[in-house]
């Protein structure tokens, strides 16, 4: 009898509630633990992906390299929630948002310490790793 094989379920650490545990891009979580939010880039055709992907939909290659998201993106749009799905109630109120980095966009949350009246479409923001109160990891947008 062989020993029980370890299951790579790192993705279960992503977000307040994760709905996925096993994915070929689980290294994303290890990068988060190191304080980095990463994209993948196809080494064959050069296309950059966020969210990261294991497989390139342009040239069908599965050869990817990781690159860190740096600099600022522009706030495309956002919404502040007063109601939440099951499992997210303790986070209320929170804002979900989209940031445009030019080559790709990032969907996530606005950092809880950014006052509502300072959130404006078009503002420059950065993406940073965040540890949630339940120990889970995600990333948030902060004022640049």
């Amino acid at each position: 009898m062989g020993t029980k094989k370890d299951v790579d379920d790192r993705f279960k650490k992503f977000g307040t509630v994760s709905f996925t545990s096993i994915s070929k891009i689980n290294d994303f979580i290890s990068h988060l633990e190191e304080g980095k939010v990463m994209t993948t880039k196809c080494t064959e055709c050069g296309f950059v992906f966020f969210p990261p992907r294991a497989d390139c939909s342009h040239c069908l290659s599965s050869s990817m390299e990781w690159n860190e998201i740096t600099g600022t993106g522009k706030l495309v749009t956002f919404s502040t929630l007063q109601f939440a799905p099951v499992g997210f109630e303790d986070d209320l109120p929170y804002s979900i948002a989209l940031l445009d980095y030019g080559d790709y966009k990032v969907f996530g949350r606005i950092a809880g310490d950014v006052p509502d009246d300072e959130i404006k479409i078009g503002m420059e923001m950065t993406t940073a790793v965040n540890t949630l109160s339940n120990g889970q990891l995600n990333y948030v947008f902060q004022k640049a």
Binding site: F14, S18, F19, S23, L81, F83, R109
Partner: protein
């Protein structure tokens, strides 16, 4: 190849909690459509069942329905495209009839949203997007459409009151639709009254009154070849144009946030196939799961220029007496939105209009009608053009 027609339409009353099983619910829409078509089960040579399966306890409802509706041994097929499932069903029925493989098909849409508990429903709502990359942030349908509303307001100066005006219109007609789940009037004042639930924020800038009513319901369309249509129906309604498109699930993959690209592309396809333009449309049903969705539909379908939707509603041009009546059956906002049944219900309204059988909501002498049915947050777009 001959034309393809809709010769029978039906729907159940849309209710909060249907007091029966899913097959009994489906039977209600099916019976009305079969009576309308004056057809019997042996005339139907295939069925297509449409719903969002995450609300069902029953696995593979299509087979269960085929038995309950008396449609054995004819084949049955199950299709799903979230809230646009039954207009996807119509597209498939059209293709199956047009190919000559079948000549009369029942397209049965249903959803019994109360089949699962409210907590289970809330949990599923959280998974209505990209579960790997979006849901872990705590997303919900209202919040996604709110992001579109915010972008629309920023780009075009649209106001919350412009959106509320769409809700007021919907309620005007929901009150007189006996099959609607929400039969009460809604006024602009209700949105500004802090004591009233309508103005309570859900996901800024959208409020309770901007969201459609959940409901249980079923719908059914009987789709027939030209030959069968002429044999069975005095007033067949012809399928003139069909458009269907998709876009990325994750908002990060999209470029437009003041409109839905899949809706616009589906509209262009349908107009081209039918050989008509937006000006030729006499009456329309659009997917108003939220008020902002109807506003964007005006613009994506060419009833207004981009940004011109607010003038269209404020001038009441989308009321029954206006130049382009939209959702004069109460829409999803008041009639209710039983996901898999919605497209079929929208199509039923337009078929009634084109047959001059719409009663109190009848638009004057319409010849061409349009149905815009969206799945997810603009993920799936279906546009159907019908003519008499």
């Amino acid at each position: 190849m001959g034309k393809v027609a809709i010769i029978g339409v039906g729907q159940s009353t849309f209710v909060r909690k249907y007091p029966g099983s899913i097959k009994e619910l489906a039977f209600e829409g099916f019976r009305e459509a079969m009576n309308d078509a004056q057809a019997t089960a042996k005339n139907i040579d295939a069925s297509i069942v449409c719903s969002a399966p995450e609300y069902d306890k029953q696995r593979s409802p299509a087979g269960v329905f085929a038995e309950y509706l008396g449609l054995n041994p004819q084949p049955t097929f199950y299709v799903e495209s979230l809230c646009s499932s039954s207009s996807t069903g119509l597209r498939l029925a059209y293709s199956m009839v047009k190919s000559g493989l079948h000549d009369m098909i029942a397209v049965v849409g249903f959803q019994k949203m109360s089949e699962i508990t409210s907590a289970e429903s809330q949990e599923r709502m959280g998974r209505g997007a990209d579960i790997q990359w979006e849901s872990p942030f705590g997303t919900m349908m209202p919040a996604y459409y709110a992001m579109y509303a915010r972008a629309h307001m920023e780009k075009y100066g649209t106001k919350p009151e412009d959106l509320a005006a769409i809700r007021v219109k919907a309620a005007t007609y929901g009150q007189i639709n006996e099959k609607a789940v929400y039969r009460k009037p809604v006024t602009m004042e209700m949105f500004s009254d802090p004591e009233n639930i309508m103005g309570r924020p859900v996901a800024s800038p959208l409020r309770v009154g901007d969201a459609c009513a959940n409901a249980d319901g079923s719908s059914c369309l009987i789709v027939a070849s030209e030959e069968k249509a002429k044999e069975f129906s005095k007033k067949p309604v012809w399928i003139l144009g069909l458009g269907a498109a998709t876009t990325t699930v994750n908002l990060a993959g999209r470029d437009l946030f003041s409109g839905l690209t899949a809706a616009r592309q589906a509209g262009e396809q349908a107009y081209k196939m039918a050989g008509v333009t937006p000006k030729d449309i006499d009456v329309a049903e659009v997917h108003d799961c939220f008020t902002i969705a109807e506003m964007m539909a005006y613009e994506n379908l060419g009833f207004a220029e981009p940004g011109g939707g607010k003038e269209l509603i404020q001038s009441k041009e989308t009321y029954k007496e206006g130049s382009i009546p939209v959702n004069v059956d109460g829409g999803l906002l008041s009639k209710g939105h039983p996901i898999g049944a919605t497209g079929g219900s929208q199509i039923r309204t337009i078929v009634h209009q084109l047959r001059d059988e719409a009663g109190d909501i009848q638009v004057k002498n319409p010849e061409i009608g349009l149905i815009h049915n969206i799945g997810g947050v603009g993920l799936y777009g279906n546009v159907t053009i019908l003519g008499r």
